[in-house]
Each structure stands twice: as C-alpha cells, then as structure tokens.
Symmetry: C2
Subunit: 346 residues, 2 copies
Amino acid sequence: MRWLTLPITSPDQRYLLAAISRQKQLTKPAGSLGELEHIAIRLAAMQATDKPSIDKVWISIFAADHGIAEAGVSAFPQAVTAEMVKNFVQGGAAISVLAQQHQAHLEIIDVGVASQLTELAIIHQKIALGTANFLTQAAMSQAQLQSALQAGKEAVNRARADNSQLFIGGEMGIANTSSATAIACSLLKLSAKQLTGAGTGLDSLGIQRKAEIIQQALDKHQQISATALPLLQHLGGFEIAALTGAYIAAAQQQLPILVDGFICSVAALLAVRINPNIKPWLIFAHCSQEQGHQRILEDLDAQPLLNLNMRLGEASGAALAIPLLRSACALHAQMATFEQAQVSQG
Amino acid sequence: MRWLTLPITSPDQRYLLAAISRQKQLTKPAGSLGELEHIAIRLAAMQATDKPSIDKVWISIFAADHGIAEAGVSAFPQAVTAEMVKNFVQGGAAISVLAQQHQAHLEIIDVGVASQLTELAIIHQKIALGTANFLTQAAMSQAQLQSALQAGKEAVNRARADNSQLFIGGEMGIANTSSATAIACSLLKLSAKQLTGAGTGLDSLGIQRKAEIIQQALDKHQQISATALPLLQHLGGFEIAALTGAYIAAAQQQLPILVDGFICSVAALLAVRINPNIKPWLIFAHCSQEQGHQRILEDLDAQPLLNLNMRLGEASGAALAIPLLRSACALHAQMATFEQAQVSQG
C-alpha cells in the first residue's frame, strides 16, 4: 500500500495568481460572485489553465455490505444494497437521474455487496459478501483493505483515461453510516453519542441504540492504533476504503475531486490523514443533514457549496453541485473585463 | 393600480397532496432529498401537474438609475448602470453567461436609466432619466409609479405568451441598495443602521455614511404612510417598482417566481404587503452577503436554496438556482418507485 503516500503535487500557484487577477478585472464588484470566484480560482490552479472547465465529469459509485447491519443499525434491510445497485443500472435511482441531467459518466463498482450481481452491467470487484461484523472482529483483513483501496485507484485510472475533468465518488451500503461514524469517532476522538445520526431515517430511540452499538465497537477495538489504515481495516467498509483510495489517487493524478456527503467526507478525512497533501484537491459539495457531517467538515476546514438538508448518499449531493462548478468556470472564462466592456470601475 | 389587488389563486392542493404521496414512494429514504422534495411538491401544485418541469425560464432584468446616487452612496459611478446594460446585451455580464448556460430567455428593460439607450436591442420603457433624489423629495410621481408597476406586469405577459414555466426578475441600478434598504427599514420598522450593507463594495466607513444618508431620508419621509405603495413612490426605484408589479402579475397568472437577492427580496416583500396571496408563488433562490438580506428573508419565512456569499444582483443568484429546480423536477418525474424497482422498504 506504499502508493498511498507517494507525493501529491500542489495545484499550480502561477495559475492561481493569474485567476485571482482575472477575477478582479471581470465586470462585477470584486468578490461579488462569492464562492464561485474561489471555485474558479481553485480549479484554474488544479487544472493549470487560464480557463478551467468541468465539461467531462466521472462518477464512481462503490457498493458494499456491512456485517454490522445484522445488529439492526439501519432503518432498511441489507437486501436494499443489491436492490439499489440494480436500480442504479436501470436508471431509477436519484443518482441515475442526476448523472443523466448533468451528462456525467456514471459507473457502479461492486466491491462487496452481500449477494451475487454477476448478471448486472457493473464493474465486478467483489472483495467479499460484505465485511465481517466489527462488533466481534475486524471488519476486513489487510489484504481485503488493500484490494478495496486499489479498486478506488482503478476507478480514477478509468476516469483519467477518459479525460474526465472532475472525479466524484459515491457510495451505497446499508449500515455504512455506522461504519463511517465509528471511524470518525476514532479519528476525531469523540464518543459515538456525539456523532451518531439517523442514517436512512432512524427515530430518536433507533439513533440511541445505534450509538450504543457503535460505542460498543469502539470499546472493543480501542487497543488498535487510531490512525487511518488500522481504523479502516477494523471499522471500515469496502466502499469507504475504495473512496479513500480513489481520493488519494485522484489527487496524485491531479484530478479535482468533488466530495459528496457524510460517508464520503469520512473517506476524505481518512485520505487527508494518510496523505495530507490531498487537501487542496478536495471540493466539498454539500453539508448533509446527517448529524456528524458538520463536525467532520469543520475538521477538514471545508466550505461546502450546498446545504439542502439532504441525507441520501449515492453522490447525489455532489451531482447537484456540478452546475455550480460549471457556472464558476463559464463566468471566469466568458465574462467581459472592465476594459473589454468599457465599464467604469469603482 | 387596482389590478395589483386582484385575486391570486392558490397553488392546487390536489396536486400538492399527490406530489407528497409520490415523493414517499420514490426509491430513497423519505425526506432524504431535503429541499428538493419541497421544491418539487410546490412546483407540482403551482403548475397543477403530476410532473412539473422548468424547461422554459424567462429572465427580465429591469434597469434604472437613482437620484440618491448623487449623495455618494455607491462604490461605483452612476454611468455604470448604462454601461452594464450594454454589457448585458453584448453577453459579457454574469447574467448573460448564466442565462446562456441554462438556456433561459434573457430580456433587458430600460425603465429609467439616466442616459439614452435607444440604439440598444432592449425593451424601451424609460419612465424618466432616473428617479429624483429621495433625500429632498419623493423619488417618483404616482403616475411614474404606475408606469413602473405596469412595465413589470408587461414583462410577465411576455413570459406567459412564450409559455415560460418560471419567471425570474433581476435588476441593475447604481445606488439601488440604498433605495431598497430605505423601503425595507420602513416596512420592517428598523433603523438604517440595522439594515445598511456594503452594496457593490463600500468599506465600513462608507457603509456608516450610507446608513446616515438613508436615515436622513427616512426621517424626511416619516410622515408618509408606511405601506407599500407610498413607500415605493417616495423611496423606491423604477426597477424595484417594476419587480414588485412583475411578481404580483406572475402570481396572478399562476407563473412560479424565483426571487434573486436583496433588491428582489425587498420587491417581494412589497408585493406580499400589497397582495399577501402572492406568497406561495415565491421561491427564494439565495441568501446574499448584503447585510439586510437575511432579515428580509426571515420576515418572508423564506428558505433560500443557496448561500454562496454572493452580492451581485442582475438575477445572478436566481440563475444559479435554475439547475436545482430542474433537478427537483427530474427526480420527481423520473425516479423509480419502490414498487417499480422492487426495492424493499424500511
């Protein structure tokens, strides 16, 4: 797994400065496009160009099941993971609709769904029929962790080969907020109670029970090192590890990353702990309604673009932010300067 | 001006209930699409249809100058209003770029720019070469107010004739945050200091001076009735009155309205005070950085979709929200139900 810590190049400072200068010349009060100006400037530096663009977007959804689901931590049965993968392929899921609306390439990777999906037109990289229940043992072996991280890297390789200009990761996996919450608690040194949320829609009693189960798991694994890779192995999910690997690989390949919701932000947090230089390559799409998300975004100094009280996953929040990135690029490239338009300055 | 208080039909309750029911059947945890669910449900009721859509969008930008500009309340000279109108037409302004990106129809209406623009391909409804300075007299006559409101209504007539499914109003007018702030202070019974913001980019000293000037104007006109039409006449701008008229006419014609930033929200507040039944027809696009905007949105019980620290006007914030409305519609229409996709429910 040595590739995880290989160097990450910083976004290009020359293009960053040139973009800052251009934004000041465009026909609008300086700063009046708010976050869109920051996004255009950051993308110019990441893409090392005067006129960044986000025409080609790649979305990889990693699907996997979780042993912890048997503890009853989700409002939905485990079968939903496989059922939703079929729904993604058939075009009926939220991310299917949004990917089509925004002309993004959408691929689904089975990294560990708990049933055979061989008949589906998806990418088959099943590591196991779900993780082990981390209440009683490590969620996965080290070899399995390595495979999951590698699956993420391979998705980025495909995105790069297709000349994509933005990488979006997404996830599907019943019970994966429990896994993500356990990891985040360990990384941020918080109790399960502080971070546990409703996931797909637990009531307050359900949330309390879920927090107790996660706390049990944290207590059971307290002897392991509170660093990213051991935590991923003991408390993780295959899709969370794949996202972590994908984010690191994307930054290594200088591909801007748009981060979705709670689960993806935990993967981003893991990626930052493994290789801190990834940070300038991350754009955060939204703050979800999942209780722990705000806390994780704060730890990452993230300024999410949207806050629409969503809590769906599937990269849906990131997909909604695609047009904002495209607007930022279009405004940066196409607006007239004060000089061009002969508009007086303040 | 009797048309302003003619009845406004409520959005159709049957379609509202049908849309709520459909949202619960779509393959996602109930409520997990957050604000997008509310938007889809509201649009279904406004358009009286099972499958709302926002394919055709109409943007009317009203441009006008303000006598108060001579008091030095803006960071930009008055000439910028006319210069920016040219920039809109030439495609170099933010709204030009965004309208093209989102395939929205964009029209510019001169309701009172302080110079002749007869050579430009815009709609010519100039009422005067700017309003009078409301520090010393009423900004406009009653006849002028009537013409401005009517210009707004006519824009909506054009939008309706073109079968537009969404009306967006925008504004351009150096010093118009001063006019809007003065009106909002009167309507909300607040001091100028509480609401005055940076506009196009004043520093803190400039904001303080602007607040003093606005307070002077409020004191001068304190004898007038603190109701919408007298306030519009004494403190308003032609573009603010046009927006107010447009919003009322759009609701009367059952055309959903997407409200832009601070100035437009003040026009929406005026419209609600004139004809309260307009309220369910208003969708608020964003919360701007202009200091008083949040306060006005609260008074309108508005839940703005975006918060990107913008403060540009020109309908730019509303244009950015168009894809979110389209996503809400696409998800509502195209997602599979649990039954269709054979996905288990929680």
